[in-house]
Symmetry: C2
Subunit: 419 residues, 2 copies
């Protein structure tokens, strides 16, 4: 029978193996006293199992509050960190993605045996993965729509994030498509406010994009933020599709795994997954989820693009972590399609070379807001400078050298480099 | 125009007021350089506003990694903690609950200006709250179904959590209803596995409960865990209703706000909200959400019961925090119904008196798993001992004294007290 393997980074005042058993117990058949119906046979068939415990360093102070001393000790002298791998019978959840989340990442976060607990990896059997919708478009399907093959998809976020009417949004989009972007998205803060209803916004925006396509033959992807109630999202999917739209954006946490799956079921369009709120689950290194583990849920639910922040971004994540996240997105889960990591936040030419070198490929979206709209010579120069930076990286020419013969890049370096 | 007020506990290497402005900027119209379309007028109408900054202590080390020193300083000497209140224009999200979450608790968790950030309170205007479904039953509606008025609703979780067939589950339920419980729930780990499909389980269980009702006139509430994809949940709602069922349980995070709202829209039954995974959002005191803020989203989405752990539980939460959570559930949001806090985890007679004294009322569910099934004289004695403990508390008689004349309570004290 298939088992699902979950790996946790833990910190504990107990022996790490005891703490691991506490997780296994809590997440399968545990209660606080032995009860008669809980036979050995049942435990054997349905119990979680500790597969491996790898001790790491000890620390003097607990990372998280609420851990209890083992009953034999009055004071805790040290807390041991360890990586522990558990396996769970797939039979306990069948092929239900929402319930998998409860099994591998439920109550365990509040166990007293732990002063730190983070789900760092998840190995999902083929038998589970193949029953999930998974991404419909992934990297290749998205590339096909915008007809961009051998370089990153260059995109932007409509700014200001909030406050523009549908007409003002369309005007901004006109500037951006004229500037040469491949991809445009709504900000996560703009969904369906009274001053910019999805119906009106998508119609105004797609008018511009469709006209641009007729004139130039170039398809620009517009990720319309359809986040909302289930029925609203499904209605907006239809509105977007009818207007000739080609991408749906959702705030993942807000709609949940069930919401993403429902939308994916109906959708003929790529789903652009926004991870706002992710920091609450990840920023404490001894709590929550690693991106490696977390992203698997959303990909199996059906997203095609996932945000990963960016190198030297305005956010707190380390560059190593950003790159590792992006590489995860590009790695298939079982036979599901790999997806596009979306780089964003404070991005301009500066981070291109390092991003390319770390990844070794261009299977990504590279989004810049201020990096395009804020270019001193205008948005067209903003897009040009990003394309030039990627050309330089792919040709292994130092950025400064390439800038000598590429004005937009030169101006960007002078402008943003001193900002 | 209505504004939504959110209060955060922050820690920052900056001046707290600067850090608060960074949140306001990120969560309304921010990007990393000034851009032309962002007029003062728009910022005035759509910008978030810092309402109040209350400095607290300083610390030498950052709680969370990834915070940057202010540019003028090379090293950070200290980090200041502060409570900051921001207000957001309701117009930015309209009345969308999923998008409210993004606005008040989105990217801000990863701001470099912060080494700690937790949403600790949320004041939602009447104009927003009245547009939400809210709880359909709440405290009074739930009490009416089970006809329990002047004491807590005593309940239990079917154990072992996993592994029982529908028939074995029904057998356990028979024992429990005979024992006198008011409420029975599935464990959050048991939803719809191959060995216990909801259709079969609910039919088997409701057979027992309906027969019990015919025989005794007593209605026992069964919270069937219907967590799953949206369509699955709606189908299960119908199955549960047709079988005469009277409560639906869902794992909140797994189905998201959109999933809860969709179920609530269809549902004729109370929704029992399970908060598994909540610890990942709350256990670091300087990250994530306070329960006060977090529970408001789910209540507005429509849950009638919400878990709050329990006093002296097997989990990490402090007793003060548990009580404060419970009191929040009992406090109405605008004109919405208050809901039942669900006490659970390692509960038996021991915690009753303190729980009652802290709350001053019995508007709660008091769940015991091992505390009922593990009683040496059987489940009937298990339920009896809990009822006795609550009788003692409400009559202000010390537990030990009451136990002298109540055998089940006496046995429980001897048994669990020494476990």
């Amino acid at each position: 029978m298939s088992r699902i393997h979950a790996t946790y980074l833990i910190e504990t005042p107990y022996q790490p193996s005891e703490a691991a058993e506490a997780i296994a117990n809590e997440q399968s058949s545990g209660t606080f006293v032995e009860i008669s119906a809980e036979t050995d046979n049942l435990a054997e068939r349905h119990g979680a199992r500790v597969e491996e415990v790898t001790e790491q360093e000890t620390v003097d102070e607990p990372t998280l509050p609420g851990a209890d001393a083992p009953s034999e000790a009055s004071d805790v002298a040290e807390y041991t960190r360890a990586t522990v791998e558990l396996s769970y019978p797939m039979e306990n959840v069948g092929t239900s993605l929402p319930n998998l989340l409860t099994m591998v990442a439920g109550n365990l976060f509040v166990l007293k045996e732990l002063s730190g607990v983070r789900l760092v990896d998840l190995a999902i059997p083929e038998a589970f993965a193949t029953e999930q919708p998974g991404p419909q478009f992934g990297i290749d399907g998205t590339r096909e729509i915008v007809d961009v093959r051998d370089r990153p998809i260059i995109g932007t976020i409509i700014k200001p994030s909030v406050g523009l009417s549908p007409e003002e949004t369309a005007d901004t989009v006109e500037t951006l498509v004229d500037a040469g972007v491949d991809f445009i998205k709504d900000d996560e803060l703009l969904a369906n406010p009274p001053y910019s209803r999805v119906e009106e916004r998508v119609e105004a925006v797609m008018d511009v994009i469709n006209r641009h396509e007729e004139e130039t033959g170039e398809t620009v992807m517009y990720a319309c933020n359809v986040t909302g109630d289930v029925d609203e999202m499904l209605r907006r999917h239809d509105i977007v599709t009818e207007a000739g739209g080609n991408c749906l954006m959702v705030s993942l946490r807000s709609i949940g795994l069930a919401g993403v799956k429902r939308l994916r079921k109906e959708s003929d369009l790529p789903i652009h997954g926004h991870r706002n709120g992710w920091g609450a689950l990840s920023r404490c290194p001894l709590l929550g989820f690693s991106y490696e583990a977390w992203q698997k849920f959303w990909r199996l639910a059906g997203v095609d693009h996932l945000h990963v922040s960016g190198i030297r971004s305005k956010f707190s994540e380390s560059d190593e972590s950003v790159i590792s996240s992006a590489m995860e997105c590009q790695t298939p889960i079982a036979s599901e399609k790999p997806i596009l990591p979306v780089f964003s936040s404070g991005q301009w030419a500066d981070q291109v070379q390092d991003t390319y070198e770390a990844l070794g490929n261009t299977d990504l979206m590279y989004l810049a807001g201020g990096g395009i709209l804020g270019h001193p010579d205008g948005p067209r120069a903003g897009v040009a400078h990003l394309r030039q930076a990627w050309d330089a990286a792919m040709q292994e020419i130092p950025l400064e050298e390439y800038a000598e013969t590429h004005e937009e890049l030169q101006t960007a370096i002078e402008h943003y480099g001193n900002a």
